[in-house]
Subunit: 126 residues, 2 copies
Amino acid sequence: MTVDTKSETRPHTLIASDRVEGTAVRRPNGETIGTIQRLMIDKISGNVAYAVLSFGGFLGIGEKHLPIPWAKLDFDPLLQSYQVDISDEELAKAPSYAADKDFDWGDRTQEQRVHDFYRARPYWGV
Amino acid sequence: MTVDTKSETRPHTLIASDRVEGTAVRRPNGETIGTIQRLMIDKISGNVAYAVLSFGGFLGIGEKHLPIPWAKLDFDPLLQSYQVDISDEELAKAPSYAADKDFDWGDRTQEQRVHDFYRARPYWGV
């Protein structure tokens, strides 16, 4: 069957992954922190566990990746970017890793630290 | 705090969105159907609603996009691709749309048809 593409398009609740990737992340005051590098998806549940925020560095040197729980990202339609309320001090202290090293996603201890840092409920249940 | 990158890496349950994008989709017999174009994510829940399968066409003409529920994709580590058991007849009948037209993700009636087609439980609950 063909999909009816003439039906009136209504606002929808879905966003494309390749559209999220590369979207800017700002503070509530509008200041840019970085961009979303990718999303990390739990294979079994199909849940987005984290957005990976890419920030810092200069000409590719010293760039950091910061995992941010999906629930902590608010989309600002005016600025067309995600909003996270996080200070420079928190960014410095937050769990992060150099862009050329893999975060050990299998280490549940590290994941608990990330969630504790954001006071977010773990995506894998209590 | 810095993340301990020396800890032993264990198998993990997360996959990166930019790694899923572009991954081949095959039938159980190994035959390639197409590739994953993108994932459609429910903004509120952070759940992957569909993977969008790109297939068919020639030199970019006549390409089709087929939404496939995440739960229907099985990853084959041997072939490093996703596996969906779907025949050419089913592909022809399945809800799809030309690659240059937007599927109306806001049309819940269409989404119900997609889920009925795959006999999958709707991601938005019963």
